[in-house]
Symmetry: C2
Subunit: 319 residues, 2 copies
């Protein structure tokens, strides 16, 4: 573990950067890489961004402030990547053993890089990049702000999760002061749904069943629904939070049929229920609020088993 000013000194001493984002890229890894890339370019350095997966259309605006460059990289920086397993291919083969610097906020960071700065108290890696740019002497501008705001708002669910700190709000204040279009970013990240998503959501809501005195709600997503709505992986975003949103529901369960067979269970829980303890019974895991596991059985059997486990858990707590 190095300190953040050491990370800044390292970046100032080096050039020809390739900045890596994790696979299935999200707002924080792309916000971090685009902000750092622009920051380094503003310092007159050469920098480019690489990701093993395609960047979704909704993230394209993040690249408006980045100048595309092509060169042979000398310095490898990974942002928001906890583990080389998240590099995906081809990045894992190309850079897995060659990361010079990693900047991250995941407590699970494996320390795979030659030097790492990991701050688990940061709500988003973009919070760290905000500080890092200041240490690099890069002045905030509307492009940097749009990137950093995107990472912060997406990793906090729009300032709603428990990882938000006073600092998160103070950084957001500085970012919107540049005039970046925060309402537009929030709208496109949170309030825009594809027609396929809308249609899938409607069908999923049709499957809602309640049990344990309405404290448990369960929905299912079948391959047929996915096929018929034309939903992609992106369209699945937010589906698993539907059952937990119902008033009085403590455990929301989404049972999703996998293309390769079996069922993926996503469990969302309200305090005092710990979702990961319920999923652990099926060999799964996660966080207290959100956890998952996989069951090799029929849809009806999968629903019945998980509901029974959740119900037994609630009974233990006298709920």
């Amino acid at each position: 573990m190095i300190r953040l000013n050491e990370a800044a000194d390292f970046l100032l001493a080096k050039d020809r950067f390739v900045i890596l984002s994790h696979n299935y890229p999200d707002g924080d890894t792309l916000g971090s890489s685009t902000a750092l890339c622009r920051g380094l370019q503003k310092l007159g350095k050469h920098a480019m961004i690489r990701c093993s997966d395609e960047i979704g259309a909704k993230y394209r605006y993040l690249f408006e402030g980045v100048t595309p460059e092509d060169f042979t990289p000398e310095t490898v920086v990974a942002v928001d990547i906890a583990d080389t397993a998240l590099f995906g291919e081809p990045l894992l083969s190309l850079y897995g053993e060659k990361v010079d610097l990693c900047i991250d906020h995941h407590p699970s960071n494996t320390g795979y890089a030659a030097r790492s700065y990991v701050d688990p108290k940061a709500a988003a890696t973009c919070e760290i990049i905000f500080d890092l740019l200041r240490l690099l002497g890069v002045e905030l501008d509307v492009f940097l702000a749009a990137s950093l705001y995107t990472g912060i708002t997406t990793d906090t669910g729009g300032f709603k999760y428990t990882n938000v700190t006073p600092r998160t709000y103070r950084i957001a204040a500085d970012l919107v002061e540049t005039g970046c279009d925060a309402p537009g970013i929030n709208r496109s990240m949170f309030d825009t749904k594809s027609r396929a998503h809308m249609e899938l959501e409607r069908r999923v809501m049709d499957t809602m069943e309640y049990s344990h005195n309405d404290r448990i709600a369960v929905v299912s997503v079948t391959q047929q629904m996915i096929r018929e709505t034309g939903a992609t992986e992106d369209d699945m975003d937010g589906i698993s939070s539907i059952p937990r949103q119902v008033e009085d529901v403590l455990v929301g369960i989404t049972v999703r049929e996998r293309a390769e067979g079996g069922y993926k269970i996503s469990l969302r829980a309200q305090r005092p229920v710990n979702a990961s303890e319920i999923c652990a019974k099926f060999g799964g895991g996660g966080h207290p609020g959100a956890a998952g596991c996989t069951l090799q059985t029929t849809l009806e059997e999968a629903k019945a088993q998980v509901v029974a486990a959740a119900s037994a858990y609630l009974k233990q707590l006298n709920l």
Copy 2:
């Protein structure tokens, strides 16, 4: 119009306050009244809150920091009330002509009070109360913070609307620094839906129709749906934002059957479309992003007329 320090001096000079919230009370009017009431009580003054309508269960926690008192009021303060028409009964008869001080952020404030402080740049009246409490010498605590945070997050749609300023975030930072449960407040304000709401949403989504090359989406809500789901006025929250959420939709229209006959139209628009210009054709009005009107006709005819007007509007803009 007085200055905010004059409002503070007025409050410091007076006692026995009744603080009025508007009818159909929301998070900002209740956050403002509970914070101001607690603030005045902390100064050793007598203060109580009155509202013409019942306070919804989800707002009860706002009153945890307020001591219930009963006395004959001497000083009448209205918070977040733009017009005496929003007092409702019995408050209008009791206090309509007797308001000593009004604190508000609505540009449409009619100036009905003996003295008014109106700041339209404040995203929420709670932003003004935050400053006012400081001028009164009241120290922030977790109860005040929960009230003020509630008003700010609800009036900004969870920090998503265009009314959010750097100041909004900076105030939020100070509020969460007290340790108030901002994630819990956001969850109960935004991520919790009654079963009736969930069921209504499902049925409304079943009525979605697209036109004008998918740039217009229209849904309907009938009295039968409301009856069969047991939905209340509270359960209607957010329903009109459903059609506009669909990707590429510029105009989202909700046609809602009224109990007294006819149809209430809620129109939500994305830039560059101005929703209020479309509604003006039917004698309605509102803001660029959200507007409404009423039509005395059948459901099919109402949908057809509004869709035709929206389509003509889009054509004019070459959209």
